[in-house]
C-alpha cells in the first residue's frame, strides 16, 4: 500500500464507455484497492485514434486539446487499454510539433499516462491483487500494449498470482486483425486474421480468453462466437478486480 494516495484520473476509453462499463468499474476498484484516489474527468470522449489513423490530423489534434484540458493536474492518468494508452503516451505529443507550449503539455501528460496493468505493476509495484481466479486462461498480447508500452509479463504475473492457469497460444503476439477501422475497411483480411487467432486460442484448451484491449476482445469474441466456441472472452481487469460475476463474458447474454 502506498504511503500517500496518488490522485489518478481514469481515461475510460470510448469502447469501455459505450460497450463494457464494467471494465471501467473494475479499473476503479483495482486502483482504489492499490491505494489510489480515483477521479473520472467528465469532459472525455475518445483518444482520437479513429481520426489520427485515418489521416485526419486536425480532428485528432482537436480531441487531443480536449484531453490536455480535461486531464491536467493529476498525478497519473490510467487507461484500461494499451492502444489508447499508446496514443496518449507516444502519439498525442507529435500532434503538437508546431506548438512548443502544447507539445510540452502533451509530453507532461504522456509521462504521467499508463496502461492499467502496467501502472499497477511497473509503477505501484503490485505483486498480486485481492481477487482469486481459478480457471484456465489464455492471454492475447494486444499490439500497442506489447510493442508500444512493453506489456508482456505483467498481466501474466498478476494472473498467475491470482491462481489462474495460463495456457499460452502458439503465437500470442500476432495481431488479431482488429486494427480499428482496418476491420471494416478490409473485412476479408481481418476475418482471416481473427480466424487464425481463434484457432490458436481454441488449440490452448483454455476456458477464458483475456486481453487488455476491448477492441481486440470484441473482434476475437465475435469470431469465437460465430464459430460456436465456448471460450469466454473478458477484459483482464474484470478478472483481476474479481468482477466476473458482474457481467457475462463478451458476446454472451446474462
Amino acid at each position: 500500500m502506498l504511503q500517500t494516495s496518488p490522485r489518478v484520473a481514469l481515461f475510460v476509453t470510448c469502447l469501455v464507455d459505450l460497450h463494457r462499463p464494467t471494465v471501467g468499474f473494475a479499473a476503479i476498484r483495482l486502483l482504489e484497492e492499490a491505494g489510489c484516489q480515483v477521479e473520472v474527468p467528465r469532459a472525455q470522449t475518445c483518444c482520437g485514434q479513429p481520426a489520427y489513423n485515418s489521416g485526419d490530423r486536425a480532428t485528432a489534434r482537436d480531441l487531443a486539446r480536449g484531453i490536455l484540458d480535461a486531464f491536467g493536474g493529476y498525478d497519473y492518468i490510467v487507461v484500461p487499454s494499451g492502444s489508447c494508452g499508446g496514443m496518449l503516451r507516444h502519439h498525442i505529443p507529435t500532434l503538437f510539433d508546431d506548438d512548443p507550449n502544447l507539445r510540452a503539455r502533451a509530453e507532461a501528460l504522456a509521462d504521467r499516462t499508463h496502461e492499467l496493468v502496467s501502472f499497477l505493476t511497473d509503477i505501484l509495484g503490485l505483486e498480486r491483487v485481492a481477487a482469486k481466479f481459478s480457471g484456465s486462461v489464455t492471454y492475447h498480447d494486444s499490439c500497442s500494449g506489447l510493442r508500444e508500452l512493453g506489456i508482456k509479463a505483467q498481466p501474466r504475473r498478476l494472473l498467475a498470482a491470482a491462481g489462474a492457469e495460463i495456457r499460452e497460444m502458439a503465437d500470442p503476439e500476432v495481431c488479431c486483425g482488429f486494427g480499428g477501422t482496418f476491420c471494416v475497411k478490409y473485412p476479408e483480411i481481418s476475418t482471416r486474421m481473427v480466424s487464425d487467432k481463434a484457432d490458436d486460442i481454441a488449440a490452448t484448451g483454455a476456458e477464458t480468453l483475456l486481453a487488455g484491449d476491448l477492441g481486440c476482445l470484441l473482434n476475437m469474441a465475435g469470431r469465437l462466437k460465430r464459430q460456436g466456441s465456448a471460450v469466454k472472452a473478458r477484459h483482464i481487469a474484470e478478472v483481476l478486480a474479481g468482477m466476473t460475476g458482474a457481467v457475462p463474458p463478451i458476446g454472451e447474454a446474462g
Partner: protein, 477 residues
C-alpha cells in the same frame, strides 16, 4: 509493370481464396520467422547492431551528395563508369545503350528489384535482346511470365508442383521419368540449363546490396552463386542500383551485412558475398572488360528531407513482409506493384503516386511488428500514417469514410453531445442484443458481421452508471 494496387482489395480477396497460394504462404512462419528468431538470439549484440546500422545509414543520407561523388570518383579510378538516371525511363535507356554498344544478343541477370522497378526485361525484349534470369526464383518466374511476389524470395508464392509443371512445359527435352521430389532436383535442372546461358551471355546485369564510397565497389549477396557467374563471365558487367545503396566504408558494409542475412533468411551470412570493383586488372584471373553502374533516382532524392527520408535506410531484407500478418495471408502479388508488404506500403506511393497506391498504407492494422523486426529501425507504421494524412489532405480517401469521420469528429469534440449520442447508441445496441449478447447481422455493419458476430454493449454507458454511483455516494455501480 502496370500497377494493380488500386485493386488491392479485390486482389486480396482473390488471394485469400487461392489454395495454392495459401499453401505456399503457410511456409512463411517456419521458413522465415523461426530462422530469424534463432539467428537473432544467437547474436547478443544484435540490438546494438540495429542502432549502428541505423546510424550508418542516417549519416550517409545526411551527406549523400558527398558520398555519391566520392563513390563515382572511385568507380572511375577503377575503370568503371556511372550512368546517372533520374527516371526509370533514363535507366532503361542507359542499359539498352550499353547492351547495344556491346552488340549483345543475350544478357544474363542476377536478382535485382531495380530491374523490376524499371521494367527492364520487357524493354530489352522489345529491342531484340534476350534477358535471362539466373536467380532460381526469378528464372522460374520468367518461364511463367510472372512477377516476383517477394523481394528476396521472388517465387515464394509457388509450390514444388508449380516448379515441376513449369519445367516440363519450358524444357521440352526433359525425360518423362525425371523426378522433382526435392529442391536439389529443381536446382540441378536449372543449373544445367543456365550453364549454357551463362557462357553465351554478352552482358551480365546484377543488382547491388551496397555501393561503397571509399572504394567504388558494389556488393551483392546471393545463396546460389548465380550472381558471380553473371558478373564475371560476360565481357560487360552492368550494376543496377538506386542512390540509397551508398555506404561510406567497407567497415560500414560489414556492419550492415551482419544485419542483412540474419534479418532476411536467418543465416549468419549469405553463402556468397561478392565485392566488385571496376574492370578486370592485368593480374586478375577474371572480371569484366567494362563495368557500368546504372544509378537510379526515380523519386528517391525527393524523399530526402521529407517525412519519408527514413525509408531510404531500407536494405531490402524483407523482414517486414516476412513478419507482416497481412502480407502473410494475402501474399505479395495482391499489393499490385513491385514492392509488397510494409516496405512496399511506404515506398510504392512514392514511386507510382498515392492516388494509385492509396490502399497499401491503409491495409495495415498498425500492429507494429514490421518496425520491431526492421534491422534499420525504420518507423514503417508512422510513415504509412503519413501517407494516410496525404491521402486525406488531397481528398483521395473514400467519401463515405470522410463523411463518417466528420460526423464522428463533430460529436467527439463535444463531450455533452457525445454523452447523449453514446447513451442512445449503447441502449439501442444493448436492446437489440439483449437475448444473446451479440448480433449476427446489423445494417451498415456487414463488414464486421460477415465473418464474426458483433458483441453488443451492456446497455448503459459507463458515464451513466458512474454518475448514478456518484449520486449514491460511491460504491455500488
Amino acid at each position: 509493370m502496370l500497377a494493380t494496387s488500386p485493386a488491392f482489395k479485390e486482389n486480396a480477396v482473390h488471394a485469400l481464396a487461392e489454395p495454392g497460394l495459401q499453401k505456399a504462404l503457410a511456409r512463411t512462419k517456419p521458413h522465415f520467422h523461426a530462422k530469424r528468431a534463432s539467428a537473432v538470439a544467437a547474436l547478443p549484440e544484435f540490438e546494438q547492431l540495429r542502432d549502428i546500422g541505423r546510424n550508418i545509414k542516417n549519416h550517409t543520407l545526411a551527406h549523400l551528395d558527398f558520398y555519391l561523388e566520392t563513390w563515382e570518383e572511385n568507380v572511375k579510378r577503377a575503370g568503371g563508369q556511372v550512368h546517372w538516371c533520374a527516371t526509370a525511363e533514363d535507366a532503361r535507356a542507359a542499359v539498352l545503350a550499353i547492351c547495344q554498344k556491346a552488340g549483345a544478343r543475350t544478357v544474363t541477370k542476377g536478382k535485382s528489384m531495380i530491374s523490376e522497378e524499371i521494367a527492364l526485361n520487357e524493354h530489352l525484349e522489345r529491342h531484340d535482346i534476350t534477358p535471362v534470369e539466373t536467380d532460381l526464383g526469378e528464372y522460374i518466374l520468367q518461364i511463367r511470365n510472372e512477377s516476383p511476389s517477394h523481394i528476396i524470395a521472388p517465387a515464394f508464392h509457388l509450390n514444388r508442383e508449380d516448379w515441376e509443371e513449369s519445367f516440363r512445359r519450358a524444357h521440352t527435352d526433359l525425360p518423362a521419368d525425371r523426378v522433382f521430389h526435392e529442391r536439389r532436383d529443381i536446382m540441378t535442372e536449372a543449373r544445367t540449363k543456365l550453364r549454357e546461358r551463362f557462357l553465351a551471355a554478352d552482358v551480365g546485369i546484377t543488382g547491388a546490396n551496397f555501393l561503397i564510397a571509399e572504394t567504388g565497389s558494389s556488393v551483392i549477396v546471393t545463396n546460389e552463386g548465380n550472381g558471380d557467374l553473371t558478373q564475371t563471365l560476360p565481357r560487360v558487367h552492368i550494376v543496377l542500383a538506386s542512390i540509397e545503396k551508398l555506404v561510406p566504408t567497407i567497415e560500414d558494409t560489414i556492419s550492415l551485412l551482419r544485419l542483412l542475412a540474419r534479418s532476411a533468411t536467418g543465416q549468419d551470412f549469405s553463402v556468397y558475398t561478392t565485392f566488385s570493383t571496376g574492370v578486370r586488372r592485368a593480374d586478375d584471373l577474371d572480371g569484366p572488360a567494362e563495368y557500368h553502374v546504372v544509378l537510379l533516382d526515380n523519386g528517391r532524392s525527393a524523399m530526402l528531407g521529407s517525412p519519408f527520408q527514413e525509408m531510404l535506410r531500407c536494405i531490402r531484407c524483407a523482414a517486414c513482409m516476412n513478419h507482416c500478418p497481412v502480407y502473410s495471408v494475402v501474399g505479395g502479388h495482391a499489393y499490385g506493384w513491385v514492392y509488397p508488404g510494409p516496405m512496399g506500403a511506404v515506398l510504392t506511393p512514392t514511386l507510382i503516386g498515392i492516388d494509385q497506391a492509396g490502399n497499401l498504407p491503409n491495409a495495415s492494422t498498425f500492429c507494429g511488428k514490421c518496425e520491431s523486426v526492421c534491422p534499420m529501425k525504420i518507423p514503417l507504421p508512422k510513415m504509412m500514417r503519413h501517407w494516410r494524412e496525404r491521402e486525406f489532405e488531397r481528398h483521395l480517401s473514400p467519401q463515405a469514410v470522410r463523411t463518417n469521420l466528420a460526423l464522428w469528429g463533430f460529436v467527439a469534440r463535444r463531450p455533452g453531445l457525445y454523452r447523449l449520442v453514446t447513451r442512445i447508441g449503447a441502449a439501442a445496441l444493448g436492446w437489440l442484443g439483449r437475448r444473446r449478447g451479440r448480433l449476427s447481422r446489423l445494417p451498415l455493419a456487414a463488414g464486421w458481421t460477415k465473418g464474426r458476430d458483433l458483441p453488443t454493449p451492456e446497455g448503459e454507458t459507463f458515464f451513466v452508471r458512474y454518475a448514478r454511483a456518484q449520486r449514491r455516494g460511491r460504491g455500488a455501480a
